[in-house]
Structure formats: C-alpha cells, structure tokens
C-alpha cells in the first residue's frame, strides 16, 4: 500500500515552536454554527425571505390590501353615486379606470370590490380555521371513538355537493355578505379539520408530548401549548390557500347572481356585470379581472412559498 507521503513537511521550514503552543479553549475561534441555533420559525422565515418570488407575492398582497383600504379614499368619487351623463367612459384623467354603465367611477369601485372580496376571502378562511382547528384538534387529540364518530360526520358532510348547499343557503337566507360567508364556510372547514387532525395524530405520539403528558400537563395545555403550535405549518399554508378559494367561489356565486347586494360590489360581481358587454367596454372587465387574477396569483404563490419554507422535507 502506498500512501501519499510526499514532502510531509513542506512548510516546516517556516514553522516555529511558538506555532505549536496549545491554544486555550477560550481563545478558540470556534466555528459558530448558525443553522442549529435559530428556532424553526425564524428558520422558516429566513427561508421565506430568501424566496424572492414568494416575497414578491407577499409585497403585492400587502399593496393590494393597502390599495383596498386607501384606494376609495383618494378619489373624489363615491362607489355608489351614479352619473348618467358619463356612463361607460373610457379610462381618462377624470376617471382613471373609466366608468361603468351607470357612470360610477371604476377606480373607486375596483378597490371597493377588492375590499369586499378580501373581506369575504379572509373571513371565510378564518372561520374555516376556527372551526377546523377546534373540530380537527378534538378529533386528532382524543382519537378512538370520538374521532371515529366525528370523522364519519365530517365525511358525510363532505359528500354533500357544496354548490348545492351553497345555492340553497343563499336562496333561503337574506342575501348579503354574511350569508355568502356562511355559505362558503358551511363545508369549507372540513378540509382544514382533516389537516389538523392528521397533524395532531402524528404529533401526539412524539416524545416531547409524551414527556409533557407524563409530567401531568392537562389536555388543554397539551393541545394548545404543544400540539397546535407544532401543527401550525400546514395550517397556515392551508389557510393561505383557502383565501383565494373563497374569493373565487364568491366570484362564481356572483356569476349565478347570488353574490353581494348592489350597489356594493365584489371583484367577482364587477367582472360578471361587465361580462355581457366586455367587447365594447373592455375596461369595465379588465381592471377587476386583472385584480382578481393578481390576487389569486399572489395568494397561491405566497402559499406555495410558505409551504416550501415550512416544509422540513425540503431543508437542505
């Protein structure tokens, strides 16, 4: 066997005994390894920060939210004032996004619409979250018979075609924002509850939970201190992705004439209103349609980015 034994001490010449004095542990310029020392959340956040596309989407979302808040205020028009002398006007200095069939300013209406759509999307997602987490948490935590019954119930509910229930609900109850949100959440929470259930079931047998339990932690503490925070990743991702779903569903309901009440408009209902004449007044469809698409895009991309950031499988 020949080992690489060439000039074993090529630099020996320059070495001095001083070089061979021991370094005290305190002086060591020890490698500080950053990766392990930061919390999983910060880690995820940093990964997210590095994902330029996802951050772009987040910035876009924030801009949309901001515009939805201040957009209607910086215009001198109100979203519901008709001007029959100025109907279907092209975009101009006077009306930045043009006017609609009743002469209402499209700029104000578009941002008001965005506001309504966001409210619908966010409320529906948050209600899904609330019910889903509680229901799913109970299923996952208690398991056994409780889980079996509750799970079967949600499966049965899930089998009911959602469109049907939604339409029926919207016709039965007074139309309005509340009803729409209710209709969207009636089956929307099920998916969330299943995700929470799956996570909790996986987590509850982990060592630290067992340890905590052996130390006498109560169910509530276990669920809220240990289990849910650790299941937060998939929950947040699902939440992010369910916002655009709700916005889209509302648009779909608008198409069926079951959307929000005029003169209030959502992006979906505005697109639908413009649909019959869009070839002649393209701006009436274009602005809300682009905004709805961009919102959808941004939520989806940001959600994907979040998933990547929170998914430990992709950690390198």
């Amino acid at each position: 066997m020949s080992l690489e034994s060439s000039a074993a001490a090529k630099q020996t010449a320059t070495l001095t005994p001083e070089d061979f004095s021991k370094i005290s542990p305190a002086d060591k310029n020890s490698e500080v390894i950053h990766r392990e020392s930061i919390s999983a959340w910060k880690d995820a956040w940093q990964r997210l920060l590095q994902n330029k596309v996802a951050m772009g989407a987040l910035v876009l979302l924030l801009l949309i939210v901001l515009a939805a808040i201040i957009g209607p205020r910086i215009s001198k028009y109100s979203y519901d004032t008709n001007d029959l002398l100025a109907t279907n006007q092209k975009p101009s200095a006077e009306h930045w996004f043009g006017t609609d069939d009743l002469g209402r300013d499209m700029f104000v209406r578009t941002w008001m619409g965005a506001r309504i759509s966001l409210i619908v999307g966010l409320s529906a997602a948050l209600i899904d979250l609330l019910i889903g987490v509680i229901y799913g948490g109970i299923m996952g935590y208690f398991g056994g018979r409780v889980d079996e019954i509750m799970n079967k119930f949600s499966e049965i509910l899930y089998a009911i075609p959602y469109l049907l229930v939604t339409i029926l609900l919207l016709v039965v109850f007074e139309p309005g924002l509340g009803t729409i949100i209710l209709a969207l959440t009636i089956t929307g929470w099920i998916n969330m509850s299943w995700i929470v259930r799956g996570e909790i079931m996986q987590l509850k047998n982990r060592e630290y939970v067992l340890a905590s339990r052996s130390l006498g932690a109560g169910s509530g503490r276990l669920l809220f201190r240990h289990l849910l925070p650790n299941a937060m990743g998939p929950i947040i991702v699902t939440l992010t992705l369910s916002v655009p779903n709700a916005i889209f569903s509302e648009a779909f309901l608008s198409f069926l004439g079951l959307g929000v009440q005029a003169p209030v408009a959502s992006l979906g209902s505005m697109v639908n209103d413009a649909l019959t004449g869009w070839m002649y007044y393209p701006w009436r469809m274009l602005f809300p349609a682009i905004l709805i698409s961009v919102t959808m895009l941004a939520f989806n991309i940001f959600g994907d980015g979040l998933r990547d950031a929170l998914d430990p499988k992709l950690k390198k």
């Binding site: 002398l85 016709v171 139309p175």
Partner: protein
Amino acid sequence: MKKQRWLVLLTLVLAVGMVLSACGSSNNSGNKGASSSTDTSSSPSSSDAGGEKLAADQTLRINFAADVPTFDPAQAQDNQAHTALNLTYEGLVRVDASNKEVPGVAESWEPSADGKTYTFHLRKDAKWSNGDPVTAHDFVYAWQRVLDPATDPAPAYSYQLYYLENAEAYNKKKITDFSKVGVKAVDEYTLEVKLTNPTPYFVNLTSFYTYFPVHKSVKDNPKWATDPSTMITNGPFTLKSLVTGQSMEFDKNPNYWDNADIKLNKIKATVVNSSATEVLSYQNGELERAGKPNGDIPADQLPILKDQYKDEFKLDPVANIYYYEFNMKAKPFDNAKIRKAFSMAISRDDIVNKVTMGGEAPAFGFIPPGIKGAESNYRDEYKDDFFTEDVEQAKQLLQEGMQEAGYTTLPPITLIYNTNDNHKKIALAIVDMWKKNLGVDVTIQNQEWGVFIKNRQNGDYQVARAGWVPDYNDPMTFIDMWTKNSGNNDIKLDNPEYDKLVADAYTNSDSKARMEAFYKAEKILIQDEAGVMPIYYYTQASLTKDYLKGVTIDYSGAVDYSRAYLTEHK
C-alpha cells in the same frame, strides 16, 4: 392479496359500466336530432314572393332562452311555450301582422246581437298532423280539459276561459255538468260559444294558446306532450325533435290546411340562456334572429348594436309596462302624497335614454300604447298626462305627506327587485335620483325570483319592481288587476269607486262607455292614489337578419314565425 386486487378492479369496471350505460341510452335520442339536420327535404317553390327571390334552404334558426316547459296548450303559461305553440297549433282564428283576426281553423264566425254568443264555422280541410280532421269536438274537448277540476295538474290559465258561461263555476266545482258550460259542438264543423258578458275581444282571445284544440288521443297518455312522437298537432309545423336544454326542431306540417302559404321547411332552435352568447351566435351567423321575446339582448350592448346593425336591429313597442309598486299598507307609502312625491321625483327620460337605452317610451299612465280602444288605440284616445315630473313639487308633496303622517324623518325604505341586470341598473338609477332629488336614502335589495314574487304577493315589501304583460288586447287586462279582491293587487289598492268602474266595464257592451270607465279608473290608480309608479312602456329589442321576412309580433310581444321566409342571401 392478489385476489383482493382483482375484486377491486371488477368493482371498478362495474361501477364505470353502470354510469356509462346510464347515459348510453339517452345518447341515442341526442343523435336523432343531429342526424336529421342533414336531410334537406323538398325545397320550397322557388317562385318569388312579391319580387323577392326565396333562398333555397328554408331553414330558420332561432334561440329559446329556456326549455319550453310544456307543449300542452292547457298547461302553457310562458313566452317560450307561446312561440312554440303558435308554430305547432292553430286556434279558431289567427292574428295577422296588423293585429287583425284572420281565419284559422274557423273559416268564419258571427256574434249574436247581444254580443254574448259566437258561432264559429270550422273549415273542413283542417287536419291534425296524423291526418284526422279537426272538428268542433276537438275544441270542446280541449276547453273541457282546461276547465275540468280533475285535470292533473290543474291548468293555471283556466281563468282565460272564464268568459264562457258557467266556465268559472264548473272549474271551481260549483257545478259538475259540463254541458252547462257555454261551449257546444253544434255539428262536426260548427262551434257555438256562449259568454257570461258581452266581450268585444273574445274572437281575438281564441287565438291565444289556452283556446287551442287538442287531439283526443291525449286522453290515455299523460306524457303525450313530452315526446315529439306522441304529439298530434294541427299547426303549420310539427315538433320533430326535442333535446332538453339543448335544441328543438320543427318541421313543416304537410297536413296543415294552408301549407301552401308556409315557406319555411324547418325551424331549428337552440336553447341558450346567456344573452351574450345568443347575440354572439347571431353575429357569427348561427341564428337568423336573436332577442326578445324568446331570448334577450344584453342591455350593455343595446346602444352599440343599434349603431352597428342599423338594418337588423329592431325595437318593437309592445303593450307591456315596467313600473314600481308602492305597498299602500306599508309605511311610509300608506300616504298618497309621499307616493306621488316619489313618482314625480324621477326622470323617466334619463332612465330610458341613459340606463335602459332600448327606445322605451316614458310611462305616465298604466295602459300601454298598442292596446285597443273604442276606435283606434286606447292611448291615442286618452293621453297619459296624469302627472308631470317636477322635483320642486315632489319635494313639497313629500313635506306635506310627512306632515300628514307625522314624520320628521322617513322610516327606512327598501326597494326590492328580482335578480336581473336590467332591473338592477334601473333600481340603482332610481334610488340615486330619489337621493339627489328628495334627499331620501333607499336601500336596494335584489331577491331571487321565487323569493321576490312571494314577498311582493304577500305584501312583505315597501317598493317593488313589477311588470305586466296583457292577457288579451283590451285595457281591462291592465285595470281589473287592481280591484280589491284581485289576486294580483299587490299594492293593496282598496278604492270602491275603482271597483265599481271595473264592474261596470265588465257588463257594458258599449265600447265608448267601457273606455271611459277605464280612463277614470286609470286616473284613480295613477293620479289620485299613485299606488303604482309607471316607469316606461316596454319595447322589444331584437336582431333580425335582413333576409328573414314575414315574422310577426303581436301587440303583447308574442312572436309568430309560421309565415316567415328567407330570401336569397350570401
């Protein structure tokens, strides 16, 4: 393990097979319609009609916005059925392009001196599509079917026949002997009709579908009107195929007595309920006619299409009215001055010119132009000048009204309309006018059709959108609905004088006196009570290719394609 997977596969195959076989059977019926579209049967006589050269292919393509719910004249109630039944059936008389009664199955007819009995002489060459002759008995049978309390489901339009003596009593089970009802087949070809009151418009009425004859074979087959193969009809066309939600095809009926005058070979109808799609389909050359009454043109496109298709775009005034109802039993509209103020504070010109843009006529009365009066049109004889729009006066009226009712501010007001783009636009515009002109905030609420109509008919509303289509060509159809006991009196008008005027008009056979009564009643309704706020008299917008001729639209807007034809075109 292996076994289990095979079982799974088997189950899967079975399940898919089930689904596929379920649809396989219905596929056939779908293809039937498609295949028959290729056979272009005998082309029409190429002789020109009045200097025009007929097109070789006499196939008319039109659209229905919804399925025809029934092809049974006794059960029909809507526009779609109206158009379809006008093609497949023929009543005692027809109405021509100038709204004149012309012979249909009846060659001639004469009223008695008191105007209460009509004798119709039927033509001997009228035949059913299976070759059977059309006889007076077929009419008696059909009318009995409509009135028979045992008919299932009960025909909602049975009241259209209540002009006949004892018809109402028989229909409402007060008498059980149909021979007491005022219709009798004197012989095979003579039909005698006795009426309760002299009814000048009765002959015209027999052109309406509820009066159409029905072949006796339907007795044993409750589903006869759902299947083209069991439909025996007597009109210029027969239903050839029917694909629910998709298409209908009508073929020329060779057994029709006047088929020499029928030039179309075939009528193909699509069933598309999106008005935008319908217009696009027309623009793309897939339809010869689009728009009302069977379809629609999107309000957004009206002003543009009007310019772009100058020669094809038509606005036909029709005797329908668009109006708002005030609930006279609900606050604050229990006060006439307040109602009137609201009615005077809007600009109908702006609505028709800038919102609906369909060339409608602003309405200041309730009876539309096109409804017959004593000599000519009622509206020509009596002007609708019951009030004028005047913001200042409206404000003052509102003040007075509020004082009378003791308001310092008005209670909250909600306007309801049924979900529809056009209704929405009008509502938004009117609410905005009220706000600007009266300083009153009105909330608008759209309601799904069934919910809306229920609320309105139950009086659960303050202001509601409404429209009225006449049942027959006489002012009565617009006036008797507001009598105290009328089921359609949603505004809850309760005016004894009004009711008396209507009762008089019913029994009076003098045209002039009747019209006078209607005018007085209309004045009460609009000027004194202001229970309804007329907005406009409808027009019907449609696009018709310039080579499509002979389509007639009657006073109410119903369309008759039976005498239409296509001239030569590219």
